[in-house]
Homo-oligomer: 266 residues x 2
């Protein structure tokens, strides 16, 4: 296994300090990083079926199971998919690529067969349920994969050109590609480290929201990460620019697309 | 540990058939069920900090970390929270309760301090990123908790009365309570079983979307679950009714609330 940090080592990388408690059993959960360099090694259908069983074991709101995953393995379709995903190399190279979709279609069909008009699916609430369902499923898949030594990378760029993704994967009304996921064996050349995160007290509040929004301490810990990539920036500017509305890589029109697919209409 | 099914046993419960492949290492990922009966046993801050480190180790879009968790432990606030969450007993009884929030506030503050106007946060894309971020974090937390023998239950009812949740937790603009989570030691009296899911081929498609929407086989497997609860229904009708727009438990006005908080505006 390429990555083998213990949980205390991973904690130190996340927070810049050593844990005082035991973190037994948490190694695989703490050592996640996005893997973008994959070895040319295949992963069997049987292995993926096990991971998909993990995905299906995740919680799903009222057992509605509002998600689907489409594996894209055929070389020309995979190449087209990589192109739609901002030409990210790992989409091409991964042993498996999955488009994880928010899915109202299956429920809609089942309801109609049972004589129920599923006219509530266009409420924002049902959009949120589907996005949560698909994310929970994918993350249980990811945790299970990483526990077995595989590497994964989420691909948000699946939302860059949603209508083209829809055509490529023949997605019906009531579905949309929420994100992609690459799965593979990390290449020996993969050097991705465990990335520092905000202090735990900055995301976990007690009783009421109490944001410590000072990121000076975090900037110090993030500095080496940016430097290694030759970037002279800070987390606040680098992240802030992402939120300025000018760097949307096509996703500024996502709401129109979601409306077209029947999501978030009311 | 109360629940100790092996992965092959869990697979059989999910799919009604025995796996033909090895599922080594997947036990804890496959044996999830929502736990609603908790033993009156506390879980230490240190243990929760370990699980929160797992949550923070989940992928987050561009490292933006668009989520927060608020633990609600003070008895009167917990009671008020349970009331807001449809009076669900497990919210009152769990050793810990967390409100997991989609969070643009922290990024917004950091961006402004860095001289960037985060005016893009009102795009649907940023709402989706935050919902995915918070769900990935929560599910890694859940997987880590279950791997250690604890039980969890997601609480979608946190969205029933979002404005009241906002007041109770003093949530700022740019945040909303996405879902709750109960964490505790399952009571010996907890009888929740591993719930059957749709056939794997109904959620995992190859190359293109190809929904097998026939749920007859699934209905046979779900029948005992409904019968044990004294319900004479089917998955299709039971689920369909959820989608008819008449059973929204207050969530029919969620989009207005999201708009007020600065989400999904364009």
């Amino acid at each position: 296994m390429l990555f083998s940090e213990t949980a205390p080592e991973a904690w130190a990388s996340r927070y810049g300090s050593h844990p005082t408690q035991s973190l037994e059993g948490l190694d695989a959960f703490l050592r996640h990083r996005s893997v973008r360099r994959f070895a040319p090694v295949s992963i069997s259908e049987d292995t993926v079926a096990g991971l998909m069983a993990a995905a299906q074991s995740a919680s799903t709101s009222s057992n509605l199971q509002l998600w689907s995953a489409i594996s894209v393995q055929e070389p020309s379709r995979r190449a087209a998919m990589a192109e739609l995903c901002a030409d990210q190399k790992q989409v091409k190279d991964a042993a498996w690529f999955f488009a994880f979709c928010a899915d109202h279609y299956r429920l809609s069909m089942a309801a109609q067969k049972a004589g129920v008009d599923p006219k509530g699916l266009d409420y924002a609430e049902f959009g949120i349920m589907a996005i949560i369902d698909v994310a929970l499923a994918a993350e249980r898949f990811a945790c299970a994969a990483e526990a077995q030594g595989y590497g994964i990378c989420y691909i948000g760029a699946l939302r860059n050109q949603p209508a083209e993704v829809e055509r490529l994967l023949e997605l019906p009304h009531g579905t949309f590609g929420a994100f992609g996921m690459c799965l593979g064996v990390p290449a020996d050349s993969e050097t991705a480290r465990i990335k520092p995160r905000l202090k735990q007290s900055q995301v976990w509040f007690r009783e009421t929201y109490d944001a410590d929004v000072s990121v000076d301490e975090y900037e110090l810990r993030m500095k080496p990460t940016y430097e290694r990539r030759g970037m002279s920036t800070s987390w606040a500017s680098h992240s802030g620019i992402r939120a300025d509305g000018e760097h949307m890589t096509g996703r500024d029109v996502l709401l129109d697309y979601l409306h077209k697919q029947g999501f978030f209409l009311r």
